[in-house]
Symmetry: C2
C-alpha cells in the first residue's frame, strides 16, 4: 500500500502501446489521430483511471484554470452570494476558484496576492477591499495576471470595479414610494462613514428633488444596525415628525427593527389593528443583499442588490480579459431589482 503512485500519461501510453505524445494529442484532441488509436488510448485512460495533472500542464505554459479570489468576509451575505456566483460561473467554464480571506490590514492583502501569484493563477479577483488597488494591479501585471475588483460601493482607487448601482437602487426604492403616493419620506440607518450609504443617499435625495418633494436633513437618521436601535429610532423620528409617511431603511436589520417599532407604536397609540395601522400610515422600503426567505412575512418593499449577478459578471470579465488589455476595462455597474411587498 503506502504511497500509491499516481497514474501518469506514461502509464497510459504503455498500456495503449503508443507514445506519450500520442496520448497527449488524444487527450487534447489536437492532432489528427486515427480513430483506432484514439479508442485504444481512451480505453487505457478509462481502465487506469487516469486524471490529467493540471500542474504539469500549467507549468509547461498552458493556463492553470485557477482563478484566485480574495474576499473580505465570506460570512457577509453579500460576499457569500457574490462568491457563489463567481464559483458557479467559473465552474461552468472549467475553471476553479482559489479562495483567500483577507483578514486584516493592508500588508496582508499584498501577501495574499503574492500567494495567489505563486500558485500560478490565471487571474485574481478582489472582492470588497478598498485602497491600494493601483499598486496591487501593477504587481499582478508584472506576472501577466489580470486583476479585477468587485465591491459593494465605488472604489477609492482608480481601478476597474464591478459593483452594484447604489444610486439607482435608492432611486428605485424612492420612486416606488412616490408612485405609491408618499410625499414625505425619511431615511433610516447606516453609518455616515459608509460609502455605499452615501451613494444610496445621493440617489434618494436626487429623486426627491426631481419630484419636487421636501427633503430635510433631519429626516436622515444614522442608526446602528440592530433591531432595538432601529425600533427606537423610527419611533422617535415619527414622534418628532408625524407627517412622515414612508421610510427607506439602509439594510434588512434596520427594516425589521423599524417594523417592530411601528408595531409597538401602533399598539401604544391604541390602534386596534396593527396591520391597518401600518398600512395606512407608514410604508417601509429597504435594501437587502439577498432576497432572504426569512423576510418573507414582513411588509417591506425590498431593493435587492444583485450580488450573485455581480459575481457572475466579474467571472465572465476575467475569463474574457486578456492580461494586456486590462487597462481598458472600465467599471461595470450592475442595477438593483425591486421586490414589492405583495398586498
Amino acid at each position: 500500500m503506502s504511497l500509491v503512485k499516481r497514474v501518469t500519461i506514461n502509464d497510459v501510453a504503455l498500456a495503449a502501446g503508443v507514445s506519450v505524445s500520442t496520448v497527449s494529442l488524444v487527450l487534447s484532441g489536437k492532432g489528427r489521430i486515427s480513430s483506432a488509436t484514439g479508442e485504444r488510448v481512451n480505453a487505457a485512460v478509462e481502465k487506469l483511471g487516469f486524471v490529467r495533472n493540471q500542474q504539469a500542464v500549467a507549468l509547461r505554459g498552458g493556463h492553470s484554470g485557477r482563478i484566485g479570489v480574495i474576499v473580505h468576509n465570506l460570512c457577509h451575505p453579500f460576499y457569500a452570494e457574490l462568491t457563489a456566483g463567481l464559483a458557479e460561473e467559473l465552474e461552468q467554464n472549467g475553471r476553479m476558484l482559489m479562495l483567500l480571506q483577507e483578514g486584516n490590514g493592508g500588508e496582508r492583502l499584498q501577501r495574499c496576492v503574492d500567494t495567489l501569484l505563486a500558485q500560478g493563477v490565471d487571474g485574481i479577483i478582489i472582492a470588497g477591499v478598498s485602497g491600494r488597488g493601483v499598486a496591487l494591479r501593477e504587481r499582478a501585471a508584472q506576472s501577466g495576471v489580470t486583476l479585477l475588483f468587485a465591491s459593494r460601493d465605488s472604489h477609492p482607487d482608480e481601478v476597474a470595479v464591478v459593483r452594484p448601482d447604489n444610486q439607482q437602487a435608492a432611486r428605485l426604492a424612492t420612486e416606488y414610494l412616490i408612485n405609491k403616493g408618499h410625499q414625505r419620506i425619511a431615511w433610516l440607518g447606516g453609518h455616515s462613514a459608509s460609502l455605499a450609504r452615501a451613494e444610496r443617499l445621493g440617489g434618494f435625495c436626487a429623486t426627491l428633488l426631481q419630484y419636487g418633494l421636501p427633503f430635510h436633513s433631519h429626516w436622515i437618521i444614522e442608526c446602528e444596525s440592530t433591531q432595538r436601535r432601529a425600533a427606537e429610532a423610527v419611533v422617535s423620528l415619527l414622534r418628532r415628525n408625524p407627517t412622515i409617511t414612508a421610510v427607506v431603511c439602509h439594510n434588512s436589520t434596520v427594516a425589521m427593527g423599524a417594523w417592530f417599532g411601528l408595531l409597538r407604536a401602533g399598539r401604544q397609540s391604541g390602534e386596534d389593528s396593527l396591520d391597518s395601522y401600518y398600512d395606512s400610515r407608514i410604508a417601509l422600503a429597504a435594501f437587502a443583499d439577498v432576497p432572504e426567505m426569512m423576510l418573507d412575512d414582513v411588509p417591506v418593499t425590498w431593493v435587492t442588490t444583485p450580488a450573485r449577478e455581480i459575481g457572475r459578471s466579474v467571472a465572465q470579465r476575467i475569463l474574457r480579459a486578456e492580461p494586456t488589455e486590462q487597462d481598458t476595462a472600465n467599471s461595470f455597474i450592475v442595477p438593483a431589482r425591486l421586490v414589492a411587498h405583495k398586498g
Copy 2:
C-alpha cells in the same frame, strides 16, 4: 510589454551570481549556506520580486499546499461559516483552499473530486453532501489523498465526518427550558425527512423523559420554514393545547415566525402588554446556524451550531492526517453552545 516573463529561480541565480541549486537551498533554508551567499540571494529575490512557483514545487514531489473543498451551498449560513473557518485555519497553516460548489446530483460530485485530484490537492473536504462517500474515498485514496467529510448531521455512509452534536444541542435547549421551570414543552418546525431534525428530536425527547416530563407526539409539529407558516402553526398549537408553556423551534425563521404569532395572539387576546404576555406565558428556544445580529432583539434563547469551529476542526484534521491512516479517523462531534436571551 505584452507577455511579461515571470521571474524564476534562474533569474535570481544569475543576479546573485550563484547556481540554481544554491538559490533553492537558500529558499528552503535546508543546506548549510554561508551567510554571505544567503544575503546575496535574498537581495536578488527582493530586487527582482521573485515569487516561488508552487506548481513546480508540487510537481517535483513536494506538497502543493492546496486543500480542495466541495461545498453544497455556499450561501447557506451554516456552510458559509464552516467554509470561513476552514479558510481561516488553512491560511494560518500556509495552505489554501480550492473551492468547488456541488450543484446537483451524484455524478457531479465524482467529477468534482476528479477535478480536484487533477489540480494536485493534498486533501479534499466534502461539506454537506450525503451518500456515495465510500466510493469517493476509495477514489481519493488511489491518489494518496485524504478525504474528509463535514456535515450538519450524521452521514449515511460509513465514513468519518466532522459534525455538530445535534442531540446535545437539543438537550441543551430542553434542559434550559426545564430549569426555567417549564414542564410542558412543544416542538415546532422542520420536515420529518430531515436527519438533523431527527437527531435533535432524539435529544429533545430523551431529555423530557429523563426529567419525567410529559411528551406527546401531537406536540411535535412539522412546519415549512417561513415566518407565516410558523406563526400560524404556533397559534393553532397553543389554541389546541393551552397548557404548553415553551416551544423549541427548529430554526431561526420558524422562531421569528413563532414570535410574531405570539405577538398577534397576545394582542388578539386583549393583553395590554405584549412583552408581559409573552414573558409570562410562552418561552421560545431555537437552533441557529450562526449567532446572527439580526436576531438580537427577539426574546428567544438560541442554541448555536458551531459551524466555524467545525470548519476549523476539519481543517486541522486534514492537515494532521497522513494519507494512509485515514481509515482510523473517526467521526468528530462538536458540541453546540447556548446563548440565553438576556432578560
